[in-house]
């Protein structure tokens, strides 16, 4: 019994002794969670983020490793490359909705995976090694901070409100004069751009990449950050990414039972909070600090 309590205590106390590698991984996963969240702001569920991550990672690595480009520029180039592909893919794909879009983006990620499996200049099946570990806490959390500020500002901007309108009802939004196609394309390419940046950071942290680092399983993981954390507000995926990444190391003491515990947590969250842990009003001060009013009126 004491051992169980001690282990549980360690799961909590571990939060205060996270190492640099843990924090970097958490930060990168948070960025990936946000890249998933951006298409969601217009109601698009994309499973292709792993594919965009792969594109960004490969572009950034090729630039730093073979062309000696300064790391931030390489990151940006990786992001822009992924964003451009996202734009090109988005034009035909965004006519689809819901499940169909999820399937097509999923297929896109597969195409990217097979492309890098056969693409000789980036090592094909052998991958690329010898990448310099440029990624540090400053890069990861600096970029994350910029993204958070951007998303927080976006919520109440004209574009943000247009996104929101598209998400709630496309037809009504169009009737109100919102350019639906433009809004969707913007959100989707922005998501791809962020995924590309995340990929560049990942590559310069893992110092070795190969095609199957960005496979379907990573796509599902990225989706889980958002689904678990909450898909209505931008800090939802942040919490989701933190919990999932942290628990994958903190629950190590459970050994074979880890995934059972983990699965149960997800099921419970889905039962009690189908919109994810953080909803629109979870962190609202008014909700938590207002006086209880008698409901009968």
């Amino acid at each position: 019994m004491h051992a169980v309590i001690e282990s549980l205590a360690k799961v909590f106390t571990g939060i205060f002794s996270l190492g640099e590698a843990d924090l970097i991984t958490i930060g990168i996963n948070m960025i990936m969670g946000l890249s998933m969240f951006l298409p969601m702001t217009v109601g698009q569920l994309s499973f292709g983020q792993a594919g965009f991550m792969s594109i960004g990672a490969h572009i950034a690595v090729v630039l730093t490793l073979y062309a000696g480009v300064w790391f931030p520029i390489a990151l940006l180039a990786g992001g822009l490359g992924a964003g451009l592909i996202g734009f090109l893919v988005g034009v035909p794909v965004l006519r689809l909705r819901g499940l169909l879009l999820a399937l097509v983006t999923f297929a896109f990620a597969q195409v990217v995976e097979v492309f890098f499996l056969n693409f000789k200049p980036t090592g094909a099946a052998e991958g690329i090694r010898g990448i310099y570990p440029y990624t540090n806490l400053w890069y990861v959390y600096g970029i994350l901070a910029i993204l958070v500020v951007f998303l927080a500002r976006l919520r109440h901007s004209r574009t943000g409100r247009a996104f929101e309108a598209v998400k709630l009802d496309e037809v009504a939004a169009e009737a109100m004069g919102v350019n639906v196609t433009r809004a969707k394309l913007m959100a989707f390419s922005a998501g791809a751009f962020v995924a590309g940046i995340g990929g560049g950071l990942y590559a310069h942290f893992a110092v070795f990449i190969q095609y199957d680092n960005f496979d379907f399983k990573r796509g599902v993981d990225i989706a889980m950050y958002m689904v678990l954390g909450g898909m209505d507000v931008f800090y939802g995926p942040l919490l989701g990414a933190f919990i999932i990444t942290y628990l994958s190391t903190a629950l190590q003491f459970l050994a074979d039972w880890r995934w059972e515990v983990w699965g149960s947590i997800v099921i419970l969250v889905m039962i009690f909070r189908p919109q994810g842990i953080l909803g629109r009003d979870t962190l609202s001060a008014r909700r938590w600090f207002r006086r209880r009013q008698p409901t009968a009126a």
Binding site: T13, A21, T25, G130, F205, F208, K217, Q252, D256
Partner: protein
């Protein structure tokens, strides 16, 4: 509501106040172990963990390392590079291990070895087979042999026993780094060296099940043998397809062919196939018998496989190195101790192990003036004769009627 929150807060603070497990130096030697137990690689990892645990238990039953108890901290890498990096750093920084056993996959090793190098901690991968992974990192070692050493032995034996082998085809799994390098970088030049002409090369990817097109293409060139750069699962399907197309040929593979289930899956189709293995699960030595007995007590429904045996040997070698290093095992001397352990492991010669045909494993620290980090072992040629994995010495080749 307020009371509940307050209670929750108190509980949380109480939890924080509980003393964490402090790492014990002195009478306890702590070694890290990285292995995939879930997701990718779990099918190998579970037995590998059991094998390593057997090794640790045996070491402790025999009095530990110089009277000190050996403790192993197991981390599940899930076959994921980023997680493997996190776990390696936790083992090195937080758990302050003296050395790390693992990681298992070549891809994980590519990501973790640079960390070992930077942190100056020995990382000893028992099963990574992709060529050259440990070469750039002097703190990285592997308990595996280069296929470039084993394949020429196999081909020489084939040449000696089946002089009619003149033409060969190569089938390569291009999705797997080990298989790809075995097919393209090892079989291709080595076949040429022994004077066997390569008449056809066909690539496939891990997970393919239908090989009718591949075999048809190869059959048109009428080769005498097919060299497979791949693992046993796909090889079994190829053999079945070749049998279906009534193509008689000698199959030659690498370490990856070494799983007895290949016979169960193919029946007569695999007859005569040759590969070079470093571990023979039926070896009639006392060491192997007792290992298999203890292993099967932990994982009763499995067939002993080579990665697990490699893990067992690696743990024994690590313990031996720690003993030789004569470490002080205090927090202050950790850095020096890690260096001593690395140097001790690097100089292991003729270590008695399971995974070498002559029972001797040596570690190659420096080869051609550069760090290599791989092991030297003797392979056993195994031929499938009458549906059984049969170790073949000189003159015991099966009478194959192919030409």
């Amino acid at each position: 509501m307020k009371t509940r929150l307050r209670l929750l807060g108190c509980g949380f603070i109480a939890l924080l106040a509980l003393p964490g497990l402090a790492h014990a130096f002195g009478d306890e030697i702590v070694v890290g172990f990285m292995v995939p137990l879930t997701k990718k690689g779990a099918s190998y990892g579970v037995q590998s963990r059991a094998a390593t645990e057997v090794a640790v238990e045996e070491i402790n039953a025999a009095g530990g390392i110089g009277g000190r108890k050996l403790t192993m901290i197991t981390k599940d890498t899930e076959g994921d590079n980023a997680l493997a990096i996190q776990l390696a750093r936790q083992l090195i920084d937080k758990d302050q291990v003296i050395a790390a056993h693992g990681p298992q996959w070549s891809a994980e090793a590519e990501a973790v070895f640079p960390i070992c190098e930077r942190s100056k901690v020995l990382c000893f991968s028992p099963t990574s087979t992709k060529p050259g992974v440990s070469a750039p990192y002097p703190w990285a070692f592997r308990n595996t042999v280069d296929e470039n050493v084993l394949v020429p032995q196999t081909l020489k034996w084939v040449k000696d026993n089946y002089p009619w082998v003149k033409k060969a085809a190569i089938l390569t799994d291009i999705k797997d780094a080990y298989s790809k390098s075995l097919g393209h970088d090892t079989f291709r030049p080595k076949l040429k060296e022994v004077g066997i002409e390569v008449v056809e090369e066909v690539d496939y990817v891990t997970g393919d099940t239908d090989f009718s097109a591949h075999i048809t293409k190869i059959k048109a060139k009428v080769p005498d043998m097919i060299a497979v750069g791949g693992t046993w699962v796909e090889t079994a399907n190829m053999m079945k397809e070749a049998q279906k197309q009534d193509m008689k040929v000698l199959w030659v593979g690498g370490v990856g062919m070494g799983n007895a289930r290949i016979v169960e899956n193919t029946g007569r189709a695999s007859e005569g196939a040759v590969h070079n293995a470093t571990y023979d699960k039926d070896a009639n030595t006392e060491m192997n018998q007792s290992y298999v007995r203890r292993l099967l007590a932990k994982v009763p429904n499995e067939t002993p496989h080579w990665p697990a045996a490699n893990c067992y040997d690696a743990m024994k070698m690590l313990a031996f190195a720690i003993k030789q290093a004569n470490i002080a095992n205090t927090p202050q001397t950790l850095e020096a101790d890690r260096k001593k352990v690395r140097d001790a492991l690097a100089s292991i010669k003729d270590f008695p192990g399971l995974t070498s045909a002559d029972g001797k494993i040596s570690v190659v620290d420096i080869a051609n003036g550069k760090h290599a980090g791989d092991a030297i072992k003797k392979g056993t040629l195994i031929q499938i004769q009458n549906g059984k994995f049969t170790p073949v010495g000189e003159g015991k080749a099966a009478a194959l009627k192919i030409r």
